[in-house]
Amino acid sequence: MSNDDLLRPTLSDYRKPPALYNSTGFFVSAFFGGPVGAGVYAGANAWRLGRLPRDLPVIAAIVAAAFVALLELHRAGALDVLADWLGGSLGGNLGIFLRAFGMATFGAIYFLHRGFYRAAQVSGMKPMPGWVPGILAVVVGLAANVAFHGWILGHH
């Protein structure tokens, strides 16, 4: 980057200065909303960072990968074995598996935005409250989990 590029304004391009919703909301959204909950919250963060067009395909791919992994584990019989070990049926334990994959999705997306979280931390910037994206993420995530639950039990 040349000196002229360095001295080109960066912040005038934003309607609002870039910021992040707090990470507690992100974790809670992933915990209760599963992979889709994590994806929705991460989408809100990407939007506030002004990176939605760049990050959305990656976020969508991570969420899709979580569901594909769940399906593949189910096809291979691993979910039934795990459910048996945990006690109870697959239907009864699917919520736990979705939650675990929600947290894995959270981890993967957190890694994607890790530089921003750490920059906010070291510069002492307070994150924004995440109630609105959090509630939206949990509602959409729970709906997706219920749909997945119904579909997997109906078709397999």
């Binding site: 360095l6 912040l11 005038s12 870039p18 992040l20 915990f31 947290m103 981890g107 957190y110 530089g115």
Partner: protein
């Protein structure tokens, strides 16, 4: 006119002496007297704005800084103060434009590059923050603002790994508050709360009037309190530890309920109590201490 200017300069010099030593009441007294004789002097007005800024009277500081700029539009210290005030108010885009303007006039000012880098870091533009700090260090390899910005960028990038930027900052400015700040941030980031607390306490003893240090020591005292020790894994590894806690809890409790049902219930209750404690206690202790 020359006499007037030199007299005003004497008042300004005295005020600066007191400001540097954070003797704000003395500075105010000198400035009041100076401004009585020279009400339009830009330097006296600037110092007056500076005193207001240091005393957290930001609105008054901004009004005075703008008054200086009406009389003397190129007054660089007043423009720099305005950058700080705008940043504090969250008007980052305006602060950036002002900094760029200053950098175009003083293209070799490492200090300005350092300040711009900190602004970029604060608005989460890590790449640009790093490049600006690097550019500033080309002009002055020991500039404290640039070294601080570079150290913070490196902490943001590499976390607990050895931090070359921080080592350079501490070597060049072992006495500076910036170095302490960067070191404390790096230690907290690495989960070394005890060391961070001791370091910040030492800095506070050297500069007891520094409000930033007071709040830093207070926060670290809370994090280092004996009742927070059980939460150490969560402090160190953050959400990763929370996820691991959940997974381990699930696996352990379900496993125990099959292999040793008598132990499963106490373990489940202990696990639940720990989870509740980790949620409830940190906000509570902040209110108590």
């Amino acid at each position: 006119m020359t006499d007037q200017t030199s007299n005003a300069a004497i008042y300004a010099e005295q005020a600066f002496y007191f400001i540097e030593r954070r003797r704000l009441d003395d500075a105010r007294r000198v400035l009041k007297e100076g401004l009585h004789h020279f009400p339009q002097d830009p330097d006296l007005l600037f110092h007056s704005a500076q005193v207001d800024w240091l005393a957290d009277h930001n609105d008054a500081a901004e009004a005075t800084a703008r008054q200086v700029l009406v009389m003397s539009p190129h007054h660089a210290p007043a423009r720099q103060l305005l950058v700080s005030l705008l940043t504090e108010r969250g008007e980052f885009a305006d602060a950036e434009l002002l900094l760029i303007e200053l950098l175009r006039e003083y293209p070799e000012s490492a200090d300005l590059y350092g300040r711009y880098s900190r602004l970029m870091l604060r608005t989460l533009h890590l790449d640009k923050a790093e490049q600006l700090a690097r550019e500033g260090l080309r002009y002055d390899p020991e500039d404290s603002q640039c070294l601080l910005a570079a150290a913070l960028c490196e902490t943001a990038r590499s976390g607990a790994r050895p931090n070359e930027g921080l080592a350079k900052l501490l070597k060049a400015h072992p006495e500076s508050l910036s170095g302490v700040h960067a070191l404390v941030v790096a230690l907290v980031d690495a989960g070394r709360i005890d060391e961070a607390h001791r370091l910040a306490q030492g800095a506070l003893r050297a500069d007891p009037a520094n409000e930033h240090l007071v709040s830093l020591v207070r926060e670290l005292r809370i994090q280092n309190h004996w009742s927070m020790k059980p939460l150490w894994p969560l402090q160190k590894w953050g959400w990763g530890a929370s996820a691991a806690l959940w997974v381990i809890g699930m696996v352990l409790i379900r496993g125990l309920s099959k292999s040793a049902p008598d132990v499963a219930m106490p373990v489940a209750l202990g696990w639940l109590a720990y989870c509740v404690y980790s949620w409830v206690w940190p906000p509570l202790i902040r209110k108590i201490l």
